[in-house]
């Protein structure tokens, strides 16, 4: 574990820089600028504990954004990520608390439930030819209702499953490296992002994801079963939302059936800020990660500065526009 993370760290940074140089992840610079500005504005901002809070805050939205990235690169959109997360959390609650099953089954159950819902959305899109917006909007409503139905409209607490909250809050890294108490939730986000990034760039699924997003008809004419792969992409995204479901319910030590609405916009925003095009065909996971971090830093920073809430939203809006504008400028110049 130690060597793993020690190795990972420099290579990640060098990769970031390399990618940034490749004009792919220009949002990176905006993130740095934000961090610098907030550090200057508030001495409390650059504390370890606050940095951890930001990372922690990124974890759930980050995982959802990774899921959304896959779907968006393939030219679709997934509005159901938020309620899907909630639904899988409820499923985990039912399995672990109501049915008293062991932890791994709960986790697996949530991921499989997520993948199944994704499979359904994907089938609506691929087989029934329903526009992704509508298919996943419908799924979002269905899951919003089902979460309430399954949970009986009340939170399910994981009191039977000791250590459940450690999944997100504990720190495996911190145990071996006490000076780096990165919560597991963040570790999981990075693992999910790493795997997703690998899948996107190195596997068939990823290739078809880009291909379908770029020109679905061309891929189909090349003899690829695009329907199958589209469904697979939605199902994988659904499974990732299942991981987010575990993360959030572990953090709250309960499955909150009413949560999740509005999270989809935030996830999609992270994706787009990270440079992924909503029309499909291009995008990176690392960009998405940076997009999610930008949003978390922004929210946290403004809160730490105790900016009045109504102004927080105004400033957030302006900075999101400016951050993306800065990217556009750099991209144009580099051309």
């Amino acid at each position: 574990m130690i060597t793993e993370s020690q190795k990972a760290s420099p290579s990640l940074i060098s990769k970031l820089i390399k990618m940034s140089a490749h004009q792919r992840v220009l949002a990176f610079a905006s993130l740095i600028v934000l961090l610098i500005v907030f550090s200057i504005a508030s001495p409390n901002f650059m504390q370890t504990s606050n940095m951890l809070a930001i990372l922690q805050a990124t974890s759930v939205n980050g995982v959802l954004a990774v899921a959304a990235t896959l779907v968006i690169i393939s030219g679709g959109i997934d509005l159901s990520v938020g309620t899907l997360m909630t639904f899988t959390a409820v499923v985990a609650g039912v399995l672990l608390t109501n049915m008293n099953l062991p932890l791994p089954i709960g986790v697996l159950g949530a991921i499989l439930a997520g993948a199944f819902c994704g499979f359904c959305s994907g089938s609506f899109v691929a087989k029934m030819k329903i526009p992704p917006f509508i298919a996943t909007l419908g799924m979002m409503l269905i899951l919003k209702g089902l979460s309430l139905v399954v949970s009986g409209a009340r939170p399910i607490y994981f009191n039977n499953t000791p250590g459940f909250d450690e999944i997100s809050r504990g720190s495996l890294i911190g145990e071996v490296l006490p000076f780096l108490p990165i919560p597991n939730g963040v570790l999981i986000l990075f693992i999910v992002a790493g795997v997703a990034s690998y899948v996107l760039s190195k596997t068939i699924l990823g290739r078809y994801c880009f291909g379908i997003g770029s020109n679905e008809e061309a891929v189909r004419l090349s003899g690829v079963n695009t329907d199958f792969w589209k469904i697979a992409i939605y199902a994988v995204a659904g499974g990732i939302c299942g991981i987010a479901g575990i993360l959030i319910s572990s953090r709250l030590n309960s499955a909150q059936p009413a949560l999740g609405l509005g999270y989809e916009l935030e996830a999609i925003a992270a994706v787009v800020i990270g440079g992924t095009s909503l029309s499909g065909g291009r995008g990176t996971i690392i960009g998405t990660l940076i997009g999610a971090l930008i949003m978390a830093v922004l929210t946290n920073g403004l809160r730490v500065l105790s900016v009045a809430q109504e102004w927080q939203t105004v400033v957030t809006g302006i900075i999101i526009i400016l951050a993306v504008y800065a990217d556009m400028m750099r991209r144009q110049k580099s051309k």
């Binding site: 504390q47 504990s49 805050a57 009340r154 953090r251 059936p257 929210t299 109504e310």
Partner: protein, 290 residues
């Protein structure tokens, strides 16, 4: 069927507070053998959605209607329509600026959070910094609970400074994030007040995650997580209204009015401050929801 039909249009649905109100209403429905439905919009901002719900409820020609107004004026034309059709209206949780409702089953949110302010002052020794994590900047209960707390602090406890009020929309995760940020910017914070279940649980989560030990936390409403926090001492105590009672009294008053009996203009369902000590008192336990 000749069962009486009483739809309740509330301010919310998924939130535990409203589910507790629903529970009380269902209880009364069983007791008086009436049919009750319960609906509310997703957020307390959606005033127009609530009016659409009220309109749909009126289309079903109910025998009475229970209504928790999101806005004190917006629904008045529809309420007039109900009045014209002879459908009695029982207001609950918040009143409307009109004499159409036969009664209002409610608690005084201002007084309830003033009590929270007093308890907070007592626990932190009447001086220091406190912060508020509120659940709504525009909803009536949110405003009342925030203002009740702020006003009382200013008037009765001048040595206590309320350093910031921030809003987490009653969403546990968001409130956690908000509270952590507050703890970062005010390391010397002595106490925090969460104005509803989601906010209070968020504050507890944040205190746990950032290992803030000596923070005095006072919450509002109940729910398993909050009650556990109180039992374990993480949270000093919380104010609770009687949501089950509100639901119950609303239906009961409606039934009475339909039968032609008189009901008082205001039904105060009361509020309590509970701590680890009295949480299991039968009187308190009866008003807490899990």
């Amino acid at each position: 069927d000749d069962q009486l039909y009483i739809p309740l249009i509330s301010k919310g649905f998924q939130h535990q507070f409203w589910q507790a109100v629903k529970q009380g209403a269902d209880q009364a429905a069983k007791e008086f053998n009436v049919r009750v439905t319960f609906e509310g919009p997703d957020t307390e901002a959606q005033v127009d959605r609530q009016i659409d719900m009220l309109a749909a409820a009126l289309a079903n020609k109910p025998d009475a209607i229970g209504f928790a107004a999101l806005d004190s004026q917006a629904a008045i034309p529809l309420l007039r329509k109900a009045q014209k059709a002879g459908i009695p209206v029982v207001a609950f949780d918040s009143g409307v600026e009109s004499d159409i409702p036969v009664t209002t089953a409610t608690t005084d949110n201002l007084a309830a959070s003033a009590l929270a302010a007093d308890k907070m002052a007592e626990l932190i020794g009447n001086k220091g910094q406190v912060a508020v994590v509120a659940h709504s900047q525009t909803g009536t209960t949110g405003i009342d609970r925030r203002d009740g707390f702020l006003k009382r602090m200013k008037e009765a406890h001048p040595n206590i400074e309320v350093v910031t009020v921030q809003y987490g929309d009653g969403d546990q995760l968001k409130s956690t994030e908000v509270a952590r940020a507050i703890l970062t910017s005010y390391p010397k914070l002595a106490g925090m007040f969460g104005t509803n279940e989601g906010s209070a649980v968020g504050v507890v989560n944040a205190a746990r995650e950032s290992k803030a030990k000596d923070l005095v936390i006072i919450g509002f409403d109940s729910g398993t997580a909050q009650m556990n926090a109180i039992r374990s001492g993480l949270m000093a105590g919380a104010i609770t209204q009687n949501p089950i009672g509100i639901g119950y009294e609303t239906v009961k008053a409606a039934v009475k009015t339909i039968k032609g009996e008189k009901v008082p203009k205001i039904i105060d369902t009361g509020f309590y401050y509970y701590t680890a000590k009295n949480i299991d008192d039968p009187k308190i336990a009866a008003v807490l929801y899990k």
